[in-house]
Point group: C2
């Protein structure tokens, strides 16, 4: 069944970022056993792309200090990709030694965030990533580039499209095979989403290499994703149960929840390969481990129906 | 500034349903003083349509037992409409005596909900409303018809478009000047929203007489509204802070929050005449009166920024 709406794709790839982007924002580190079962359950539910962990220094992100253990014990399934975020060349070496086959790097778009997050300029951060991306590409690995604060920045306000285009085209030149456009503080609206997509494709970035990554801080995540799908995007980042958050937005609201997007995509007849019931069960299981209810509206509605 | 997206309107009328649809679902009745200040604050923020109360019997909805007092003390502003829900001819007489100039009736679409809510068939409920609508029209009042469970029903599942079209065209024939399509349990997705709108206009219902009324139970309210706007709808029902809920969905989630829609419309450059800062202030004020945080993501994000 197709959606009947013009412009929508027949299939969407959901990149599940819960184990990394989600759990790195939990106040307390989650045990490696729970992380591994979480990843297993996500693969069971049909996920083909599960961002697994990050090779960032444990002093910065203690929540993911067990990255080596998680990767060593990970039961990799055929057909499933397990990308890992690497901050530098040392992180890449550790990832390659652990058998990682998909890499992601995290590029600030605005000078303020580059300064706050990496204590570098945007240009310096790109210089830092250049040899990482080159080495990963030489090893035959696809490399995803995360662009943060693509529509708004807590220090600078609205971010001009040209600023994002500059970083995006630089990352493509450096060898990135996919770009994930992050609305880190959740302020975007559909017109600006589509305007940025048009600016990027106008600058030669192929639509097929673009993923969108929305946060629900202002309740806009699903509508923005819908607008991006209408514009030809076919890869969307979400987290199980809406895990995650951004400390810079001073808000508890996380990524767009996988279940809330899947409710829409299932309703539109857009193929994802995912099993909503298994995802809901997984988020209820994880919520019990984390000791707080899921932020996903779909998961909460189902929990209420079970009462 | 226009949105730059094709198909979107230049202006949208938001029908604020918080004082009626919202507060009638509160576990405890809210004092009339609070209701009146709430309505004053909504008008101050620029609302031109504020659904004020309901003339339903106090035994059914004790939360609105003070309808006569609220209407007597209401400070009606020029240019602002204060519609009131009436269930029957007695309710209409009370409303007319209280100086009400905008009426709404509530029509079930599915047989199961008609039975559960009114202990009548759909045809019997239309017969019941026929003289109410006729008398209101004779008195020169516009009459809004609410259609409930337009996309899904907890007993019957998905609701066929033809079922909604039958009730909608009957209400127009009876004299309704506007129809509000309610997704009472919050299950709709954009393809089905657009399909129903197309079926209604295909049956001769003018787009300009159609409002959409989404609940956020499954997180779909804003994306569905966006799809409806793209299809030519220009009237949207929302509630301040996302007040409301539907007991039949066993869920705490209410109407689409006015603030969350306004964030999108402001971002798209679509005119509403509303002041977001005043609305947020109003929802924070009301949340303090109700003793629980607002459900609006925008209101919560602002509350977090103030911490």
């Amino acid at each position: 069944m197709s959606s009947g709406l013009p412009g929508l794709p027949g299939a969407v790839t959901i990149c599940e970022v819960g184990p990394r982007d989600g759990l790195q924002n939990e106040p307390e580190p989650v045990p490696a056993d729970v992380k591994l079962e979480f990843i297993e359950r996500l693969a069971d539910a049909g996920h083909a792309v599960i961002e697994t962990t990050s090779m960032v220094h444990p002093a910065w992100v203690p929540q993911l200090a067990d990255a080596d253990e998680v990767l060593r014990r990970l039961d990799r399934r055929p057909g499933v990709r397990y990308p890992v975020l690497v901050p530098n060349q040392r992180g890449l070496r550790r990832a390659l030694e652990a058998g990682v086959t998909d890499i992601a790097v995290f590029a600030p778009v605005t000078e303020s965030f580059a300064k706050a997050n990496l204590n570098r300029t945007v240009a310096e951060s790109l210089e830092m990533f250049a040899p990482v991306i080159a080495a990963a590409r030489e090893a035959g690995l696809p490399v995803r580039g995360y662009l943060s604060m693509c529509w708004g920045d807590p220090w600078e306000g609205a971010v001009p499209e040209a600023t994002v285009v500059d970083v995006a085209t630089a990352l493509i030149s450096l060898g990135c095979t996919e770009l994930s456009l992050g609305d880190t503080i959740g302020v975007a609206t559909p017109g600006r989403v589509v305007a940025l997509l048009a600016a990027l494709t106008g600058a030669g970035v192929p639509l097929g290499s673009i993923a969108v990554h929305f946060h629900d801080t202002y309740g806009q995540g699903l509508a923005n994703t819908f607008a991006a799908l209408q514009h030809g995007v076919t890869t969307v980042d979400t987290s199980a149960g809406g895990l995650g958050g951004c400390p810079y937005a001073k808000s508890a609201t996380g990524n767009l929840a996988t279940e809330d997007l899947l409710w829409q995509l299932d309703g539109l007849g857009i193929h994802t390969g995912l099993d909503l019931a298994k995802l809901i069960e997984t988020s209820l299981w994880l919520a019990a481990r984390l000791g707080r209810p899921s932020r996903s509206a779909v998961v909460r509605a189902h929990a209420n129906l079970l009462r």
